[in-house]
Symmetry: C2
Amino acid sequence: MPNQPKRHIKDVIYDEYLGRIQRGELTHEDRLVDTTVAAEFNVSRMPVRDAFMRLAHEGYLASSTRGFTLPELTHRQILEIFELRRLLEPRAAALAAYALTDEDLASLEHAVDLSESTIASGDIALLFNASEMIRRTWLSAVPNIELRDTILRYMAQIQAVRMATLHDTASQRTLVSLHRQMLTVFSSRKGVDVELLILRFVLAGEESYLRAHNTRAETAP
Amino acid sequence: MPNQPKRHIKDVIYDEYLGRIQRGELTHEDRLVDTTVAAEFNVSRMPVRDAFMRLAHEGYLASSTRGFTLPELTHRQILEIFELRRLLEPRAAALAAYALTDEDLASLEHAVDLSESTIASGDIALLFNASEMIRRTWLSAVPNIELRDTILRYMAQIQAVRMATLHDTASQRTLVSLHRQMLTVFSSRKGVDVELLILRFVLAGEESYLRAHNTRAETAP
DNA sequence: ACAGCATAAACAGTATACGAATTTAAGGTC
DNA sequence: GACCTTAAATTCGTATACTGTTTATGCTGT
């Protein structure tokens, strides 16, 4: 028997909405109200409330006086998260390099191929998905669980930022190029090389973000 | 008017028990049951439940089938957390060095004096408290909020480990000595020096822990 | 005495209900 | 028509009640 670990409703709802948030299926206009969601699932407010409060405490949602919404990231917070990423991700990726299975490398290669294909098609959504696949793949191989969970905690924020910066063609090309290089260094399993490349990866993301931020500041008064 | 932000019962209980956990007032034998605590506070189960579930999700408590207890940290988890600390705390402290006020430095000095006084008295509890004061002081000056909160998240675990390693006289002396050096480098406000010292501080803690761990493994079969 | 089963106690999850706070809407006054 | 007052609606926090599951207890038979 599979011995199902008795999934509670609140956990089902938590997973469901965490997925929706991480897949970017919610907009800043959405207001999540427990009674409404409870009606959709045909349950009472309580499990929904539990799930939403947990998501809010973990930073995936912001609690307001009128339902839960996506959190507004300030410029400052985004820069702070980039600093955290610079500190954690290079080392995490280096650790992952030694632990990646051939299967992982294969799915990494597939995702990188997808990423490169978007140069021709210009399919930003696909590039976004490929980027997430790559990230998920190496993150899942990080052997230090505490480190991995810490990185996962600000994953939602990262996606929001990346989505906003990928409209820039130069950023897209840089991202695709870095994806290809990541496959190379991960395959070589040289921790030092991986560490350096991931640092450059995070820095490139930061530059992209700053460029988009400044452009926006100039365009809109 | 001070415009009190309307403290909810669940937040009061959360703060109360977070404090008790962080001050080490709970043992592994304590089993926290919502109905019991609810009776003490003369409230219903719900706010207590909210508070405990939050503490559990944040890693301060472990939820079992029979009440909440302090989490058992495995050897592996402790090593993983030391790795996180090596990555985050040196940089965080360097940032704090530039932001420390004279007031902060004064209370740092006071705590370091306390720490040194325990060499003569052998008062381990006081050394523990002084250590926490020092840590709290510089952490509160870290300007990167996300970084600071990430570090705070595993603070409870750190305390449990330190408490267990401080019985070793050599470790106590090392700790006190490092405290004095920390005051010096923080006062100099040289980020690079602070970064290096805090790295050595974390490494010393790790060595202390490993020594205690191995000794215990030898003594008890 | 002890294995095995039945029963009760303890506890978490969920449901329902009520009250308080705050926003939105409506109505009235100048 | 702008502004203040008041009413209604919305939503959260808390209380109480119920249910199911897990652990402890006690009983029975051999």
